[in-house]
Symmetry: C2
Subunit: 222 residues, 2 copies
């Protein structure tokens, strides 16, 4: 019997946002042990009715006027998102983004572990970064096999991303987080989630432009 | 007369993805000067009919069987996204994420310029990073005023993000790109776009779990 039901992708994104709120609350000293659908909806930018529907999809029940128990919701959200198992990732690229990821506070809390760091630059191979001796790209298949890593993180310059992506899937990696601003065309397709900083800045520019009044400081009409 | 019509947020996200494809093509030597709605849709994960509708929303017309002219589409997409003007941003936090952003190849191409870098760490203030002398947080208002920066980028540890966010809006910043995995509650709300690496990893874990066969190596049934 499958352990989790199929949840559509946009819902997965919302669950991820609810999980963030629940974790913030777990970390707050002296906070209430309940959270309302209204609070969760405000943080995620959706209506409470949508929150209740999303949470009901994996069996979380809240009490009207009392809300959801934070600890139960945390557990339920993690299970729904596939986080009840530990995830091992190898990181390719020991530059600034790679280093930032190695120091990222939330990965370990969420059950994501970066188990190895590789780089093609001979000058970096062998150095220790955040406790990991950087390994050579020649060792990729062996590192994946020995570590049992399921995920790969690409943090190399854009023009190297495609080749690294192919190497990762050849080595048996089942999903890729791609920080290079370049789409991958993989011969054996695996899920790829891209993190593109420019896209985020574009969204911001768009939102700032959208709220600016058309002329002067007048209120928007109509 | 307003220079741009209001485009809904999810469409803005798709336009951003089309722009990425168009830019990839502009950079390819010897590539065709046309792109089809099918190609744009494949890269963005949407149907061609949706692509044609999105592009028509800002007046871009393609010819059946011939496609859209790359250069016209590039210009039209940039205008629709509010990128026809230059955007100046100040960066708070000179750590690994900040350094990665300063070296990010696409920002300049897109018209985003990081005009100043600030940090609260006295040990970093005064040092040069990617051509910028890091300035003290005390100088924030002055830096914003003098530089004419419209956007702020938060690349500080999570527990400092809220205070930095408040300082940015007090200094007159009109939009924030937040790399700290913490939501901001601003007394004077401005658009905030968060980039949360954990959320990206969660989406990946979700997708990898979703495609895994329920048992053994059998094909998925029904």
């Amino acid at each position: 019997m499958p352990e989790r039901t199929r949840i559509p992708k946009p819902a997965a994104r919302r669950l991820s946002l609810y999980l963030r709120t629940v974790q913030d609350r777990l970390e707050q000293e002296g906070a209430s042990d309940r959270v309302s659908s209204r609070e969760l909806g405000e943080a995620a930018g959706v209506a409470d009715a949508q929150v209740r529907k999303d949470l009901a999809s994996f069996g979380a029940g809240g009490q009207p006027g009392v809300g959801y128990r934070i600890r139960d919701l945390h557990e339920g959200l993690r299970r729904a998102l596939g986080l009840q198992q530990p995830w091992r990732a190898i990181l390719v690229g020991a530059g600034n983004i790679g280093r930032a990821l190695l120091a990222y506070p939330r990965f370990a809390q969420e059950g994501f572990e970066i188990v190895a760091v590789l780089d093609r630059d001979g000058g970096v191979v062998g150095r220790k970064i955040a406790g990991h001796a950087v390994q050579s790209m020649n060792q990729l298949s062996e590192v994946v096999r020995r570590s049992g890593a399921q995920l790969g993180v690409i943090a190399v310059p854009p023009d190297e991303a495609q080749a690294v992506g192919e190497m990762l899937v050849s080595a048996g990696i089942r999903g890729i987080l791609n920080f290079a601003p370049r789409s991958l065309r993989l011969t054996r397709p695996v899920p790829v989630v891209g993190v593109d900083f420019t896209e985020a800045l574009e969204r911001l520019a768009f939102e700032v432009t959208a709220i600016r009044p058309a002329s002067g400081r007048g209120r928007s009409g109509g």
